[in-house]
């Protein structure tokens, strides 16, 4: 059950347009890559992170009879924006660019996806914004892609997957974070994997449900990595959005990380205040999915454990099936907090929305 809070005017920080198929991208490749795709039969980059017909991948009322959900601007405008009367929605396109083994191919795909989003989404509904898709395989190439499109103010953040080749705090990724800070964009770390490693630290699971469950521990690890590596010491203006991460796990993780930090801080002396404080200043989490406790009273307790009303930012996770109807804000979140979640917090997270 959701609360009766009206979401009119909210900023939706996580929706997922689908690339309808690889043919839709062809106009946005150079001749070489267009030819390669055709000559080598490069397949569509849908990933096992969201199996096409799995229940979570698209809510029944948002699932088309044919083709991919959320695959064109009209559908997105109606289903994602009009339904919730949101003012702005940020497109995080989960096409499997990060999974590719060749960094050159990945760079070509990233550019194609970004140009496709501009032409097919951003130009068609002024309420839409997007995160820049980058080839995380190579930070220099990633920065080049950021520089190529950052002049378009409708790109408001930079997309990465929570499980890449290395933990995201590692220094090899820092040129990306320098570019993000330079262009006033947060890094949006979304659930998903480049599948370069097993999705759990004990190997590959059997079921999709486990793959999806394992996203949460991956986010724990990633928060540790960003903080311990000192990304926020080096880039003090940077914010990191955890998208489709859930948030109810965060307090317990920060308790544990902060406890160990008190005794191990000499290993990472640039972390000169508690990880909890650093997280409150730099980490933001999208609302959906809410891995909520059984009662609204418990959710209120949990929000108290969060220790901040500035960390959660509104999202529907459209078209993923996280809730039914318009019950996007769970009971247990007060009207005042909901207002911050829907408008103030997103604006403070994405400077380009101000």
């Amino acid at each position: 059950m959701g609360s009766s809070i009206i979401t009119k005017g909210a900023i939706d920080c996580d929706i997922h347009p689908s690339v309808p198929n690889i043919e839709a991208l062809l106009p946005y490749f150079s001749d070489h890559w267009r030819d390669t795709i055709s000559q080598r039969g490069v397949h569509d980059l849908q990933t096992i992170a969201y199996p096409k017909n799995a229940p979570l991948t698209a809510r029944p009322d948002w699932r088309p009879k044919l083709g991919m959900p959320a695959a064109d601007a009209n559908v997105i405008s109606t289903q994602a924006l009009d339904t919730f009367q949101t003012s702005i929605a940020i497109c995080n396109c989960l096409y499997g660019v990060q999974l590719l083994m060749s960094e050159d191919l990945a760079a070509a795909f990233a550019s194609a996806v970004n140009d496709w989003m501009v032409a097919e989404l951003l130009n068609k509904d002024p309420r839409l914004r997007a995160s820049i898709v980058i080839p995380t395989q190579n930070s220099e190439m990633a920065v080049a892609e950021i520089e190529r499109v950052a002049s378009d103010p409708r790109f408001v953040s930079i997309l990465m997957l929570v499980m890449d080749e290395k933990p995201l705090g590692r220094r090899s990724y820092w040129p990306i974070y320098a570019a993000a800070q330079r262009h006033n964009m947060p890094i949006c770390v979304h659930a998903g994997s480049a599948y370069k490693h097993p999705v759990t630290s004990v190997g590959w699971p059997s079921y999709y449900a486990e793959d999806y469950a394992s996203q949460a521990p991956a986010f724990h690890n990633m928060v540790s990595s960003f903080i311990c590596e000192g990304v926020f010491s080096e880039y003090p203006d940077l914010k990191v959005v955890l998208a489709e991460s859930g948030f109810s796990w965060l307090p317990a993780h920060l308790w544990r990380l902060t406890k160990f930090w008190r005794g191990l801080r000499a290993e990472i002396p640039w972390v000169d205040r508690t990880p909890t404080e650093i997280a409150r200043d730099h980490i933001r989490l999208t609302l959906q999915p809410v891995d909520a406790p059984p009662t609204s009273e418990q959710l209120e307790r949990l929000m108290d454990h969060m220790g901040s009303d500035e960390m959660i930012i509104f999202s529907t996770d459209y078209p993923h099936w996280q809730f039914d109807g318009v019950d996007v804000i769970p009971e247990g979140i007060s009207g005042e907090l909901a207002r911050k979640i829907m408008v103030d917090n997103p604006k403070n997270t994405y400077p380009r929305l101000q």
Partner: protein, 137 residues
């Protein structure tokens, strides 16, 4: 405030420490380059004896990847969870304004001062020409 003579100054040489007991309080006395400092021998976290910890330096950083090592042996690192405390201030390294080891005022007095001012010194034979470590409690 009562003053207790707890050691002859030359018993605790620079770089050394001594655990003393004053009115039931275990107090750890350090000599850093001739200056004496005293802290309660209990970590404020879970109560471990700080005396059993290691003396380490101060590790700070200007930016990730840089390690500035100074003040060798001026920090005591708890034997259990590794919390570090600045011997000069009692302040923890992790959260200096919030987490502190209990500190005591320590100074040194000459034997004649000790005798004239009648400090508590039950266990000492005080010689006029020597110096003594005094705890204010």
């Amino acid at each position: 405030m009562t003053k207790y003579v707890v050691a002859a100054a030359n018993e605790i040489l620079p770089g050394q420490r001594k655990l003393v007991n004053v009115r039931g309080r275990p107090i750890l006395i350090f000599n850093l380059d001739g200056d004496y400092f005293g802290i309660l021998d209990r970590c404020p976290h879970q109560g471990a004896s700080l005396c059993k910890g290691q003396l380490v330096g101060l590790v700070e950083s200007d930016r990730p990847g840089q390690y500035n090592f100074t003040r060798s042996n001026e920090i005591i690192r708890c034997a259990w969870h590794g919390w570090e405390f600045d011997i000069r201030t009692g302040k923890s390294r992790c959260e200096p304004e919030k987490i502190k080891a209990t500190q005591y005022n320590i100074d040194t007095k000459t034997g004649s001062e000790v005798i004239e001012e009648a400090y508590e010194a039950e266990t000492f034979d005080v010689a006029i020409e020597d110096n003594y470590v005094v705890v204010h409690l």
